[in-house]
Symmetry: C2
Subunit: 106 residues, 2 copies
DNA sequence: TCGATATATCACTTGATCTGTATATACGCT
DNA sequence: AGCGTATATACAGATCAAGTGATATATCGA
């Protein structure tokens, strides 16, 4: 499984979105993805771990998951070659987003 | 099948890469993806058509495929929220790529 | 109209992915 | 040690995606 396949799954994107806000224990992720059972979420987490999109750190009996967003650069790199085909005003939007450097909460 | 799943397949990304250079008839794509049979490529093209990543236009007995890169904005939009987590010098690279507006060959 | 070329679709098989239930592992507390 | 909580793994079933070979459809040229 590679990064492209990993993010093809909507639930896994949701996990990443949740971890983008802040690190979270597995249980908290299970709560948010209420349509899935705990083992299902655990399996998604394993996949995200295997492709390097998240890190885990034990904390007591919990496991804290953190985002490793730089693995998404593989996708960003691939997609960047297509930017020149997009309407120009969208490049402006991008540039804006790209320059919006809020510090990650830590 | 959505755009995320569509680009999760390496052969389909290869098709898009080929079409990013220039529009091509289906047969030319089959030649390049020599590891696949003609029906397999045809199936990938159908999927890319269905998610709107390519357009087709008949020309004689051939079918000319063209890229519709703006469908990739769905991915770009999703991924853009993660940019702030990347090392800053990479934002510079991006910005460079983003400003590198060569006209598509047409 | 016939044959060749170009492409799409059908039928089928294989393998992978996703899910749930049940169970195991690990840690913390008393 | 024993119990409760937190998380991971095993197993089985359903679904789905991707590939091939065979065939259908469409267009061109003689």
């Amino acid at each position: 499984m590679d990064v492209f396949e990993a993010i093809a799954e909507p639930s896994r994107r949701e996990v990443l979105d949740l971890l983008a806000e802040r690190e979270r224990p597995a249980g908290e992720l299970v709560e948010h993805l209420h349509r899935l059972t705990q083992p299902a979420v655990s399996r998604h987490l394993r996949i995200l771990r295997e492709v390097g999109l998240v890190d885990v750190r034990p904390e007591g009996q919990k496991r804290i998951y953190t985002l490793r967003a730089n693995r998404l650069l593989e996708i960003e790199t691939w997609i960047s070659r297509y930017r020149k085909y997009w309407p120009r005003h969208l490049d402006a939007l991008e540039s804006h987003l790209s320059n919006n450097h809020e510090e990650p909460t830590r």
